[in-house]
C-alpha cells in the first residue's frame, strides 16, 4: 500500500501492459472470463460477417491489463473504485502502455485515499482506455 508521506499530487506510474498482443492471449481471456463472443476469437466471422478488419480484444481484457498496472502501484486490496471508458479498440499486434496519475489526496470515511486518473494508450499514442480509480493509502 502507498504511504501518504511518499506520494504527492502529480505523481505518475506507468507500465507496458502487453507487447505485440497475440490472438492467443485474447483467446486466453475469453476462456477465463467466459465471454466467447466470436468478435474476439473468430477471425472468419469477424471479418466476413461483422465487417471488422480482424478480431479485437475484449474491452474487459484492456481493463484487466490496466488493472494489473494499477494494483501493482497501489497494492493488493487497496482499490475502492475503478472505472473506465473504452475509447478505441485494441487489435492483435498492439502494444499497450498504462499510466496512473495521482490527482487528489483526501480523506474518505475516516481513512486516507488517493484519486487517480488512468489512461492506456497504444503504440500510436492513441488512447484505448480512459478512467479513474480511488485507492486507500497508509496515513
Amino acid at each position: 500500500m502507498l504511504k501518504e508521506n511518499e506520494i504527492k499530487v502529480g505523481d505518475t506510474h506507468t507500465a507496458v501492459l502487453v507487447e505485440d498482443l497475440k490472438r492467443t492471449q485474447i483467446v486466453q481471456y475469453a476462456g477465463a472470463s467466459g465471454d466467447y463472443n466470436p468478435l474476439h476469437t473468430d477471425e472468419i466471422f469477424t471479418t466476413q460477417v461483422a465487417g471488422y478488419p480482424s478480431v479485437f480484444a475484449h474491452g474487459m481484457l484492456s481493463m484487466g491489463l490496466t488493472g494489473t498496472m494499477l494494483t501493482d502501484y497501489v497494492g493488493d486490496g487497496a482499490l475502492k473504485k475503478y472505472g473506465v471508458r473504452f475509447t478505441n479498440q485494441v487489435w492483435p499486434g498492439d502494444t499497450l502502455t498504462g499510466k496512473a496519475t495521482i490527482i487528489e489526496i483526501r480523506e474518505e470515511d475516516g481513512s486516507k485515499v488517493i484519486d487517480l486518473m488512468i489512461e492506456t494508450t497504444n503504440q500510436n499514442d492513441i488512447s484505448v482506455i480512459t478512467g479513474n480509480a480511488t485507492a486507500t493509502i497508509e496515513a
Partner: protein, 167 residues
C-alpha cells in the same frame, strides 16, 4: 440477470490473472497470500466479470446441446443475419462495451460464494461519425458474499452500433 452461485475458486483466479498478464502471487500462491494482511488468495479487480461463467443463460457462450452459435463453422456464421442489423451483416449491430465501473466494498477471496443481481440503469442515444447511431444502456450488478454482504457494485454501459466501428 441473476446468478445464484458464483463460486470464487483459486484455480479460476489463477487462470484469470494469467489472462490479464498479472503474475502477482496474491492471485496464485496460497502460502504467500496467507502471510499477507489479506490472509489468502484474493480476486483481481476485474474478476467479477467472469461471473458470466456462472450465468446459465449467458448469451456469449456456446450452449451444450446445439442451440446454434453465431460464430463460424462450415460457414462464416452459424446464424442467419438478423433483420434489424442493416446492410452490414449479422455481427455489426451486436453490442460493444462502452464503459465499466467497479466499486469495491470488501475484498473478494478464494472460497467466497457470491450471488449477483442485475438491474437496468439509464439508456440514451448519440450520433457518431465512426459507427452511426449509438444506443447506450446501463446495467448495475450487485455482488454479495455468503454472509449477504455487498462486496462489489459493478456498472456496465453497453452500446449498440448502427454499423461496424471505423478504426
Amino acid at each position: 440477470m441473476a446468478i445464484n452461485k458464483f463460486l470464487v475458486e483459486a484455480s479460476h483466479i489463477m487462470m484469470f490473472a494469467r489472462s490479464v498478464g498479472d503474475a502477482n502471487p496474491i492471485y496464485h500462491d496460497e502460502d504467500y497470500a496467507k502471510e499477507t494482511d489479506l490472509g489468502g488468495i484474493i480476486a483481481p479487480p476485474t474478476f467479477a466479470q467472469s461471473s458470466a461463467q456462472f450465468d446459465p443463460d449467458y448469451f456469449l457462450r456456446p450452449k451444450i446441446g446445439g442451440e446454434g452459435w453465431f460464430g463460424s463453422g462450415k460457414e462464416a456464421s452459424g446464424a442467419k443475419p438478423s433483420k434489424d442489423s442493416g446492410g452490414s451483416g449479422g455481427g455489426a449491430a451486436m453490442g460493444l462495451h462502452a464503459e465499466q465501473h467497479f466499486e469495491y466494498h470488501i475484498p473478494v477471496k478464494a472460497g467466497d460464494v457470491l450471488t449477483a443481481t442485475t438491474k437496468p440503469g439509464n439508456s440514451w442515444e448519440k450520433e457518431s461519425k465512426r459507427a452511426g447511431k449509438l444506443k447506450f444502456s446501463e446495467s448495475v450488478t450487485e455482488y454479495r458474499n455468503q454472509d449477504g454482504e455487498l462486496v462489489i457494485t459493478a456498472t456496465g454501459v453497453g452500446v449498440q452500433t448502427e454499423r461496424a466501428v471505423d478504426s
